[in-house]
């Protein structure tokens, strides 16, 4: 069952790069939703050989619904309410963003190859892709102006940490998994409310201008 996992990881890499390249906020939200759905399927693929317990189905379903449906709905609602322009407004150009995304992937592969990690065949792609996803999430957070992008970057980072966890821990207890999902849910919920208030207060969502705030 290595080929589908590899395929899913490559899909994740491509979605990350696509996120860096797309200029529309709505498209970015959809891409992050697609990532969430793809990652929801990952635990199913990882333990396909051992057979899938009902618990695992539940976690996968919860993950797909929360990451793939609820998060994007919250974000799209925040976008409508905040009435921001639809462009991403990056500090770094799209082409350069793609180059940086590919660089993080290469660096991740190099880093992971130097770390002393348990040798398991299915880890081959999981760990470097997880690391590069975290780095790309971080990059989205620091390189985009509109505050919604910071939420998207946070979600991408969360996706990366999720993959990292799946790769390193044989089986995550359902309670922990649901706790993480709940945390992320509350995080996104609070952040969308925060962006709404920022846009109400300042009539824009430009994170760059937060620099000029005085206490």
């Amino acid at each position: 069952m290595n080929e589908p996992i590899d395929g899913l990881m490559v899909l994740l890499v491509l979605l990350n790069l696509w996120l860096l390249a797309s200029s529309r906020l709505i498209a970015c939200t959809r891409i992050v939703a697609a990532e969430g759905i793809a990652l929801g399927l990952l635990p199913l693929l990882l333990s396909w050989d051992q057979g899938i317990s009902g618990r695992l189905w539940f976690i996968a379903a919860a993950s797909v619904i929360i990451r793939g449906v609820i998060f994007p709905q919250l974000l799209l609602k925040a976008l409508r309410q905040a009435n921001v322009q639809r462009e991403v407004e990056p500090f770094v150009g799209y082409s350069l963003s793609i180059v940086i995304g590919v660089l993080t992937l290469a660096i991740s592969f190099w880093l992971i190859s130097r770390l002393p990690l348990p040798e398991t065949p299915h880890l081959a792609l999981l760990l470097p892709v997880a690391l590069s996803t975290i780095l790309i999430g971080l990059f989205v957070i620091i390189s985009r102006k509109i505050a919604i992008n910071q939420v998207l970057g946070y979600l991408v980072m969360e996706n990366g940490i999720y993959v990292l966890g799946l790769a390193l821990v044989k089986e995550i207890p359902a309670l922990v998994e649901l706790g993480v999902l709940l945390d992320a849910f509350v995080g996104v919920f609070v952040m969308t409310i925060a962006t709404y208030h920022i846009s109400r207060e300042f009539e824009h969502l430009d994170a760059d201008q937060l620099d000029s705030l005085k206490g």
Partner: protein
């Protein structure tokens, strides 16, 4: 000996059939537009007509302008000799010939650009500048894609690469091959001046890239350029088809049929892309090319981490 004779037969077929590919694309576009479209053999008629005309040379041009079309055609014919055709080997394959392939395409572009600049027309200079900008970004994507394939098959010659790719490779390395194929398709569109990068039908100065460089050529020179472009499309198409459909049945006729069917579907695919997409804004084209390069690099990184 039989290997060589089938290779030569394949080459002869390529030389004869290459102008069909633009015909297939045009017929597909006509189908989407609800037109009857030009005949499938239109390019043959055009070439015949052009070869029977005389060429007119502007007094400002020098020998560079006259050399351009002939050298361009010679470069692409040489490229044809090192690209394997349909399951067989190439006539002149050697280790590292993939670099020569990129170099020959580069030479063809270079001499076309020089001939365009030689006219002294600002308009052609603009086209030359665009062509060079975009191809500078397309070439890394092309070479890195080939490098990924070379690492995957453990061979440095095009014959070895495409001989090493089998249907089983698609089982074991599907993501890598799909990435390379996608990158190669984008490079194919760029190098052959198709939509979404360039519009082969347009005659607006704002949008032209390749077409603008060859405006001053006429008669046999223009026939050479048209034929060279068709042959280049055929050569790059063969590379793409042999990545996507790596057929090695051992039977010459089957392999040839797979190659021709692949090229036919490639023509239909390009026609479909041209009918369903608008040309990209000029400033967005580099982004598309960087994307193609990124796909190649991701494929290369994935191939590199494979245990040998």
């Amino acid at each position: 000996m039989t290997m060589n004779s089938t290779t030569i037969l394949n080459l002869a077929l390529s030389v004869v059939l290459a102008p069909l590919l633009p015909g297939v694309i045009n017929r597909t576009k006509a189908f989407f537009a609800g037109r009857k479209g030009p005949p499938l053999l239109q390019l043959y008629y055009d070439l015949w007509k052009l070869l029977h005309k005389g060429a007119v040379y502007s007094r400002t041009t020098s020998w560079v302008f006259r050399l351009g079309p002939a050298l361009g055609l010679a470069a692409v014919l040489t490229a044809l000799l090192i690209v394997p055709t349909g399951g067989g080997s190439s006539l002149l394959g050697f280790d590292g010939d993939l670099i020569l392939l990129a170099g020959l395409f580069g030479l063809m572009r270079f001499i076309t650009v020089l001939a365009a600049l030689d006219t002294g027309s600002a308009f052609e200079g603009m086209g030359a500048s665009r062509e060079v900008t975009f191809s500078a970004l397309a070439e890394p994507a092309f070479l890195l894609g080939l490098a990924a394939l070379a690492k995957l098959t453990g061979s440095l010659s095009l014959t070895g690469i495409f001989g090493g790719l089998t249907v089983e490779s698609w089982w074991s390395a599907a993501p890598e091959l799909a990435l390379v194929a996608a990158a190669m398709f984008l490079v194919f569109l760029v190098e052959n001046a198709r939509i979404p990068v360039d519009d082969p039908n347009t005659h607006l100065e704002l949008t032209m890239i390749h077409e603008v460089m060859v405006l001053d050529h006429g008669g046999p020179d223009f026939a050479f350029i048209l034929y060279g472009a068709a042959l280049k499309m055929w050569v790059m198409g063969m590379i793409l088809v042999q990545i996507v459909l790596p057929a090695h049945s051992g039977t010459w006729l089957v392999d040839l049929a797979v190659l021709l069917a692949g090229l036919l579907s490639l023509g239909v695919a390009v026609g479909t892309v041209e009918s369903t997409m608008a040309r990209l804004r000029m400033v967005r084209v580099p982004q598309l090319l960087v994307t193609a390069g990124a796909l190649s690099v991701v494929a290369l990184v994935l191939v590199l981490r494979r245990p040998v």
